[in-house]
């Protein structure tokens, strides 16, 4: 686990997604821990652009060689962009989970309380349990 990184500027969910909020736009992906547990990702299924998501609503699935796991959107809002590069290069989720492996951009509905989400330090503590 020590080799996995968890950037300080991101918020994390207990379901292992990360959120980067910039103004009212949030980018969502899965954490380095999630991709490590999944193994080689072979397919990512994302919501359609324009879809309204509730906080922690299922937004898609990540399929690896050994399992298919649901992914959840930690914040409420409208999907404004999806990472279409993942269609042909799902391995980006493994290679660069916080960068090229991002999944969706969400326009957050109103002021959102991000406090239920974890800081990098708290998320690391959760993983160590």
């Amino acid at each position: 686990m020590s080799e996995l990184s968890f950037p300080e500027n991101l918020k994390y969910s207990k379901e292992h997604e990360w959120v980067k909020a910039e103004g009212n736009i949030a980018t969502v992906g899965v954490s380095a821990y999630a991709q490590d547990q999944l193994g080689d990702v072979v397919y990512v299924e994302l919501p359609k652009e324009g879809k309204e998501l509730k906080a922690m609503e299922e937004m898609g699935v990540v399929e690896s060689v050994k399992s298919v796991s649901s992914i959840y959107c930690p914040i409420a809002g409208k999907v404004i962009e999806i990472n279409s590069a993942l269609n042909n290069q799902p391995q980006l989720v493994n290679e660069d989970p916080y960068g090229k492996g991002w999944m969706i951009k969400v326009e957050m509905s109103g002021a959102q309380d991000l406090s239920p989400l974890l800081s990098a330090a708290d998320y690391k503590k959760l993983l160590e349990k």
Partner: protein, 422 residues
Amino acid sequence: MNYVPNSADDRQGMLAALGAPSIAALFQDIPEKVRLKKGPVLPPPLSEPELLEELAQASAENTSASPFLGGGCYRHFVPSMVKHIIGRSEFYTAYTPYQAEASQGILQAIYEYQTMLCELTGMDVANASMYDGATALVEAAFLACRVTGRKEIVVSSAVHPAYRKVLRTYAKGADLAVKEVPYTAEGLTGDVGRETEDGAACVILQQPNFFGNIEPTNQLADAIHSRGALFVVCVDPISLGILTPPGKYGADVAVGEGQSLGNPPSFGGPELGLFAAKKEFSRQMPGRIAGQTVDAEGKRGFCLTLQTREQHIRRERATSNICSNEALAALAAAVYLSTMGKAGLRKVAELCLQKANYLRRKIRSSSLLFPGAPCFKEFVVKTKKEVGVDLSCFYPELKGWRLICVTELARKKDLDALVKAL
């Protein structure tokens, strides 16, 4: 003859290991009132020769079903090769085996079956099979709902009535609506336009339809796709020996009952659900697919793929409630198709077409419900004779009308005799 394999000593040993002094003590937790005090009332035991004699007598009372019975389950010739190959112990299992990759032969057989089904239907990808035609049709509708995000299924009333019943049962549980398009006076599916206006997930047609008529499918796909719906076609695989494959006229999913391919009608089973789709829907398909791959040494091998979306892995989030396939029936279909070959299958389809239409021409048109419709191997006749399928069971308005089926096995003298009897 006693088939209980353990001896009195074995039983004593097991009881000792369990720490129970007797069988009665072992069962002491079962309440007195639910215990069976005496055994079931059965005739005295028979020796094996006596038993065989009794079974032979009972089976002699069977009569063969009417040769003109069809309506979804068909009597086609099954070459002896099919029985001999599927009866081999390496193959003789009802399902995909556990530890599937240890059984390369079965996986290859399923792979061949899928390949043949794709060639037959003109689709890109086929799964390892479903339970039967009805469940395959339902799964196609569910796929369309997942893909489109819509909750309304439009189905022709000329689709097999039992399939529509199964569809309604499944749809109720999944909170989906089912709308039916009435059939026309010509025995074809009516205009699907109105029913798809409110945003249908799919339109489902059967080809040839339940009345045996050939639907004009060429222009349909564009109209259906322009409304954002998928086009699902339920086929009779034998008819694809001469009819255009659904992939050629724009179908998104082709399903059907595969019993006709090398499986006897028996008493209506086991059946075989055919399921094939366009490649873009492969991850939304139910069930599993046998795929071709290479092993660590670079040699060709076969594996099960898309299993990760099945119940034993995804539990309640699985794509569908199927978690295996109809391996033996699918193998029979694959052996049948490879035995018949392209020319053979075409010949079977031509014989069905010609014999059915020979019979139909001999019947006066006032006794035909849809005299103008082109038919493949079935058509509807007015008769009091108990022949074929009584349509009033499914369509109350069709009292007195029966669905007659003619396959390549019908002989000219049978057809002529039926004309006289009608």
